[in-house]
């Protein structure tokens, strides 16, 4: 948040390497953590249980989107490898979890990592072409992966559980307590999202993360200074797909059904939009992007529902709202990108650095 760095001196390596070196930053994180923990109760107190459930459902979608966006950002933002097959890895995770849960009766804390690993394995294979091709060509290769995975799930009943390609999955259970309401599932999603955020923050400042960035910036130079391109590109695909697989599982537990129609190319595009709007190569950017893309259509709609009644008749309004929402959504994305091509994260940093020296802006 808004704070200044002067006056803090680091005397140990440990202090220098801390995720949040400044006490005020640590306090900010602590406040956010407490807020996140009591959010359902807070919303219930503020708006009643019925409304709180609705708001929490929106937060849940944001949390899930954060996990997926972080994964894609590792691949696209940090390593510079384009992928438009991200949703396919989600479906790999979804079906892995559903099969494990239904056939072997496994609990979610087994299916969740298992599905991630399965998606990572598939992702690593899909990442192989990235060694030879880049940019648009790689985009098409990952698009092919998306279609191949979709086709496979659609046509192999052993994976998909029949012609409807959908597997009903029981609600997650912990110590005999079934999580089904949104405010219950919220904690599952919160834990996974926080783990993903912390893991990504640490990953990108580790040796692996530095290698990713080196490959993104100039892969030949990276190779010359001794970075194993094959290893790190494959690793990047695998890690990114792990996140995607976990995202797929979270969606599956939320819906109570694994269905590949939820993970088609439009979903991949949505996730790309999130990281482009939020800011590539940035953890905070992924969070901003996921929040923005999830919230914006809802905000526009609610706004239109309240303002539109003054402008349109009751019969016209239902037709006007979706049209306006689509238009404004597209327009706002363009406006934001023109104002700040590096995304919301950069915008946030600009605001921060403005207040950092405020009121002396020179």
């Amino acid at each position: 948040m808004f704070h200044r760095e002067s006056g803090y001196f680091k005397t140990t390596y440990r202090a220098d390497q801390a995720l949040y070196p400044l006490p005020i930053a640590r306090w900010t994180v602590a406040v956010f953590a407490v807020l996140a923990l009591v959010l359902p109760q807070l919303l219930t107190v503020l708006s009643g249980a019925q409304s709180a459930e609705y708001y929490i459902s929106i937060v849940n979608f944001i949390l899930i989107a954060i996990v997926g966006a972080l994964g894609l950002n590792i691949l696209v933002g940090y390593t510079g490898q384009i992928s438009i097959g991200h949703a396919a890895f989600m479906s790999v995770g979804a079906y892995t979890a559903a099969n494990l849960a239904v056939r072997a009766g496994m609990p979610f804390w087994v299916t969740l990592p298992a599905a991630g690993l399965m998606a990572a394995a598939v992702g690593a294979v899909v990442g192989v072409p990235s060694l030879r091709i880049k940019g648009l060509y790689l985009a098409i290769a990952t698009l092919a992966a998306q279609l191949i995975i979709e086709w496979t799930i659609n046509h192999v009943p052993w994976i998909s559980g029949g012609s409807q390609a959908s597997i009903e999955i029981p609600r997650p259970e912990l110590f005999g307590f079934v999580l089904k309401e949104h405010r219950e599932l919220y904690y599952l999603f919160l834990v996974v999202a926080v783990l993903s955020i912390v893991a990504t923050l640490n990953l990108v400042r580790s040796r692996i993360g530095r290698a990713f960035v080196a490959i993104r910036d100039q892969d030949i130079a990276a190779e010359i200074i001794g970075i194993d391109i094959f290893k790190y590109k494959t690793l990047s695909f695998a890690i990114s797909s792990f996140y995607a697989g976990v995202t797929g599982v979270l969606y599956t537990y939320l819906y109570g059904v694994a269905n590949y129609e939820n993970f088609q190319i439009t979903t991949s595009i949505d996730y790309l939009a999130m990281i482009i709007i939020g800011g590539q190569g940035s953890v905070l950017g992924s969070i901003f992007g996921a929040t923005f893309v999830t919230l914006l259509p809802i905000v526009i709609r609610v706004f239109m529902e309240n303002v539109g009644v003054f402008l349109f008749t009751e019969q016209e309004l239902p037709a006007v709202i979706p049209a306006v929402r689509l238009g404004v959504f597209g327009l706002l994305i363009i406006v934001f990108l023109v104002l700040e091509p590096e995304g919301l994260n950069r915008l946030w940093r600009n605001i921060r650095s403005y207040f950092r020296v405020w009121p002396f802006s020179y």
Binding site: P318, A323, Y354
Partner: protein, 417 residues
């Protein structure tokens, strides 16, 4: 100076959000809230732009006549772009507003909400979407397909062919042209079973997404396989493409029947007008045309408001399905109110009311629907409309086929899990 302006913009946006979310909470007590999922902007927008106004107009008609037992219907329509997260968010919104029933839209959405409906005890209707197994009211107590499922439609299509060939399908060659997705593949099990039962030969022709290229498949059906009869099950743009291709190969349209999502006026128009599709047979789960009393009533309602009847009314297949969809909810709520004797009704009451629906016809627009706690499909009735003189004209009365075969499959599917 962007840096300064943007926090202001954010504050306005946040203010709008708070204001916007706070306002709808102040709804009137007397209204009965019904949630309506809709797709006016997504993959199936050609359906949504006609179907949703139909549903809304019928609700408005009920309201203009004093509502139900003095309660006004408050229909909340939310567009979801055919995206499941948006669909689920809209469902939660309906729940927040106190909806007692929900009009679902879209197969993936229906699947994703099936568990939730039962947990929340809010009945949802999915005419023409979802899985055929949803007809089993014991297994899915709060899910109501209310119209013929793809299984029932496939059985009816075979029955239609059988009647056409004088009651015998032995040795006949039937081609099944379908969109290669779960919904497209669903009727396969029924068709395969009926092929054995009736002794016809079945060959399947898959059309991959996005379904706008099927020249090879149609040529194969018409010239190489030389099918005696064709059943098509396509969505979106693809039905019109199939009509064009059949026309091009010179295949007789009268030997083609489309399941319910390839059977609207929009499909004929996109194929080049009704004349191109002369003879084309379509399955319908709601009446087609405007020769029903309810259309006159809706037009009358608009006239009283000093307006023209909506242009959507002219596209009768989807408009009438919208009326049908809303009418089921209206009847269910009416039954629920009657059972509660004027007391406040919940989703559970509406569910019970829905299971009592019987003998509501809307002058023939609705099938002879009979919903029971066991059968949430209501019998699986369909009607055939054939293109004659460029227009969809009634080709049969309401009928259903092979209920025993369908029952066997529904029971088998219930055992699977």
């Amino acid at each position: 100076m962007l840096r300064i302006r943007l926090p202001g913009a954010a504050a306005i946006a946040a203010g709008a959000l708070v204001l916007g979310l706070a306002l709808p909470a102040a709804a009137q007590k007397k209204d009965i809230v019904v949630g309506s999922m809709c797709d006016r902007t997504g993959a199936t927008q050609t359906v949504g732009v006609i179907l949703c106004p139909g549903a809304n107009d019928y609700a408005a008609l009920i309201n203009s006549r004093g509502g139900l037992d003095g309660h006004q219907l408050k229909v909340i329509e939310i567009d979801n772009e055919y995206k499941v997260p948006q669909g689920m968010e809209s469902y939660e919104r309906f729940k927040k507003e106190g909806a007692v029933s929900v009009l679902l839209y879209g197969t993936p959405h229906t699947m994703a909400l099936t568990a939730k409906l039962t947990e929340d005890k809010i009945p949802g209707t999915s005419p023409g979407f979802g899985t055929a197994a949803g007809a089993d009211g014991k297994r899915y107590p709060y899910l109501f397909p209310i119209a013929a499922t793809y299984w029932s439609q496939a059985a009816a299509a075979v029955k239609f062919a059988k009647d056409k060939f004088g009651g015998n399908l032995k040795g006949k060659k039937i081609a099944y042209l379908f969109y290669d997705n779960p919904a497209g593949k669903e009727p396969l099990v029924i068709l395969e079973d009926l092929a054995k039962l009736e002794g016809f030969e079945l060959k399947t022709f898959a059309v991959p997404a996005p379904g706008v290229e099927m020249g090879a498949q149609v040529l194969d059906i018409a010239q190489r396989y030389r099918a005696d009869f064709v059943i098509t099950h396509l969505f979106g743009r693809s039905p019109s493409v199939s009509i064009k291709e059949f026309k091009r190969t010179g295949f007789a349209m009268s030997k083609v029947i489309a399941l319910v999502w390839g059977s609207a006026e929009a499909d004929l128009e996109a194929a080049g007008g009704g004349a191109v599709a002369e003879g084309y047979n379509t399955l319908q789960f709601a009446g087609v045309g405007t020769d029903y009393q309810v259309h006159k009533d809706i037009a009358e309602m608009y006239k009283k408001q000093g307006k023209q009847p909506p242009k959507e009314m002219a596209s009768t297949v989807y408009y009438n399905r919208g009326i049908f969809h809303m009418a089921v909810h209206v009847e269910a709520i009416r039954n629920a109110l009657k059972a509660k004797n004027g007391g406040a009704i919940t989703g559970e009451d509406v569910k019970n009311g829905m299971e009592k629906i019987k003998g509501v016809t809307l002058g023939g627009l609705m099938p002879p629907l009979e919903l029971t706690p066991v059968d949430h499909e209501g019998g699986g009735w369909v009607q055939v409309f054939t293109v004659k003189g460029g227009k969809l004209t009634k080709g049969s009365d309401w009928f259903r086929a092979y209920p025993d075969v369908l029952k066997k499959h529904i029971d088998a599917d219930a055992k699977r899990t």
